[in-house]
């Protein structure tokens, strides 16, 4: 069989993984198309990392079907590994080597690597290319991890919380890099708990909570589907702030107009943000 453009890069059905008594992944289904940027969003402990590690071929599963680039990652070959790029959650590069030595060395593992100097530039480490890794800051090390993940020119890039520890400027630069790779046709799966990151990068999103996918779709669509209702806020005659959640905000405002006979003090009507939707879906509403 030849690889078709419409073939799915990642196909997961009924994935389950248990650690002792704890069920980390409880029946996850995922379908990621080639060339897509897919965001796996969820709180810590939702099962994101376990899922990604199974897709990387780094962790065994208890049940379910997993196909990544047309092969089961549990039986990964060298050829398969050369097509999959991984950015780990925890950094692990050799401390005594320089950035350039490390990136150049990793390039040698791959049949068709990207140019090491170009990759160092893409992650914004040109100024640190000759520094020992142990002298890098946490954020710079993460950027090196990203460099090592993309050096092989992967068809599929799996990133587990890639921007944790980045400052805002580095995060923007990372987003540009992801967009560049996506434009080149790389399929990208990233886990994150930064909502704005998922919204900025992902073509599609899956929200994961307690080992299950609780919602899936295009970010704007998710907001419309799950973000029903609105919040009306005003100040009462006694000066106390009041809040009412309603599906019919216009009606609420009309009633308030009658009551106040004109201008309503401190009136605000807000639609739920993607963050509200996310918190509601993952059962963390009370955390606000």
């Amino acid at each position: 069989m030849t690889a078709h453009a419409n073939e799915r890069a990642v196909d997961v059905r009924g994935l389950r993984k248990q650690y002792g008594d704890v069920t980390a992944v409880d029946g996850i289904d995922l379908g990621i198309r080639r060339g897509e940027v897919f965001g796996l969003l969820g709180p810590n402990g939702a099962g994101k990392s376990t899922t990604v590690e199974i897709l990387q071929g780094q962790r065994t599963r208890d049940a379910g079907e997993v196909m990544v680039l047309g092969a089961d990652p549990a039986a990964a070959t060298r050829a398969w590994r050369s097509r999959v790029g991984i950015v780990w959650q925890d950094e692990s590069a050799p401390a005594e080597l320089t950035v350039r030595e490390t990136v150049r060395h990793f390039a040698r593992y791959y049949p068709r690597p990207r140019d090491p100097e170009e990759v160092i530039g893409l992650v914004g480490l040109e100024a640190k290319a000759s520094s020992r890794i142990k002298a890098l800051s946490g954020g710079q090390r993460r950027r090196l991890d990203v460099a090592l993940g993309v050096i092989g020119g992967p068809e599929l890039l799996l990133l587990d919380e890639p921007t944790t520890g980045f400052d805002p400027a580095a995060r923007r630069q990372f987003w540009d890099l992801i967009r560049l790779l996506a434009d080149e046709g790389t399929t990208i799966l990233l886990t994150t708990h930064y909502l704005e990151e998922a919204e900025a990068l992902a073509d599609r999103l899956a929200v994961v909570a307690r080992g299950r996918v609780v919602a899936e779709g295009v970010p704007a669509e998710l907001r419309d589907r799950y973000g029903t209702g609105a919040t009306v806020t005003w100040t009462d005659t006694g000066g106390t702030p009041r809040t009412e959640r309603t599906d019919t905000p216009t009606k609420t405002v009309a009633e308030l107009m009658r009551r106040f006979d004109g201008e309503i003090p401190g009136l605000r009507v807000s639609r739920p943000t993607l963050e509200d939707v996310y918190l509601r879906l993952t059962g963390q509403e009370d955390a606000r």
Binding site: G57, R81, I86, D90, E96, Y109, P111
Partner: protein, 281 residues
């Protein structure tokens, strides 16, 4: 128009993945570079056996009755054997356990690097540090403790194969024991204790004719006793054979035992090696 449309395959002929030997050589160069950049580790690794040689060979320097050698002379081959084991068994056992704990191994496993390249790299590192260590101890031994360089080509040959087989066996055992510690932090104790015990019962610190037979018999199950014995055969006069358990150097037997450990050690590594620590199973 042809009826069968021949679609060009999306990927051309299967790509050639880089070979294990070449990558092993590159990994070796990288390992050596990393090793020598850690100054304190370099000093500790090379100075340790020299300091011990100095202490033991200076404290015990009397003639050994009827053997035609001094105690100092006995310590030179003994410390060389211990030095070979320390650069291979001890350093690999500890460093691989730490690399596993710090997820360096897992990262390598996520690349198309062939696993053999990793082990070849370690072997290059051990070969270079082992040769250096042995050369330093030999220099100290000949300069201060009255030991002569091997006198014939045959003795140099014996020296070479004892070094090669002993280093290989100990390196493989080091790789195998690296899977035992639960974390990188406990690696040093897990690896150093058996090494220390073996040094006592294999004739490194205590002269072979002083150790009780039952202890020596346990020591004889492992490579170190045979490495010490072989190196004594290379560097000491024939008259010193009387000190040996069997009354001779037993070169044939040494080759057999060390060879068996190379094969057994390899099997042990293949069966037990883990790229991740137990938590990450």
């Amino acid at each position: 128009m042809t009826t069968t449309a021949v679609r060009a395959p999306e990927r051309a002929a299967p790509e050639r993945l880089p070979g294990a030997w070449g990558l092993g050589l590159r990994r070796g160069a990288l390992e050596i570079r990393q090793f020598f950049r850690q100054r304190d580790q370099v000093v500790f690794t090379f100075a340790f056996p020299v300091v011990f040689l100095f202490l033991f060979a200076s404290i015990f320097s009397d003639d050994v009755r009827g053997a035609g050698v001094t105690a100092s002379q006995l310590y030179v081959p003994a410390m060389m054997a211990a030095g070979i084991m320390s650069t291979s068994f001890q350093s690999l056992g500890i460093s691989i356990a730490i690399e596993r704990d710090e997820k360096v191994l897992r990262r390598l496993r996520g690349t198309p690097m062939p696993p053999a390249a990793y082990f070849l790299g370690k072997i290059w590192l051990v070969l270079v540090t082992g040769l250096l260590e042995t050369a330093i101890l030999l220099a100290v031994g000949t300069a201060f403790y009255d030991v002569d360089l091997p006198s014939s080509a045959g003795r140099w040959f014996d020296f070479a194969w004892i070094f090669a087989l002993g280093l290989t066996a100990c390196a493989l055992l080091g790789i195998a024991i690296s899977s035992v510690p639960k974390s990188g932090k406990s690696a040093t104790s897990v690896v150093v204790l058996p090494f220390l015990v073996l040094q006592f019962i294999s004739g490194v610190y205590i002269s072979i004719d002083t150790i009780p037979d039952w202890m020596l018999n346990i020591g004889a199950l492992f490579p170190l006793k045979w490495m010490c014995q072989g190196l004594r055969g290379v560097f000491l006069p024939q008259s010193a054979q009387v000190l040996e358990q069997a009354g001779s150097w037993e070169f044939g037997r040494i080759a057999l035992v060390l060879g068996a450990w190379c094969v057994g050690g390899l099997a042990l590594c293949l069966l037990t090696f883990r790229w991740k620590n137990r938590r990450d199973g």
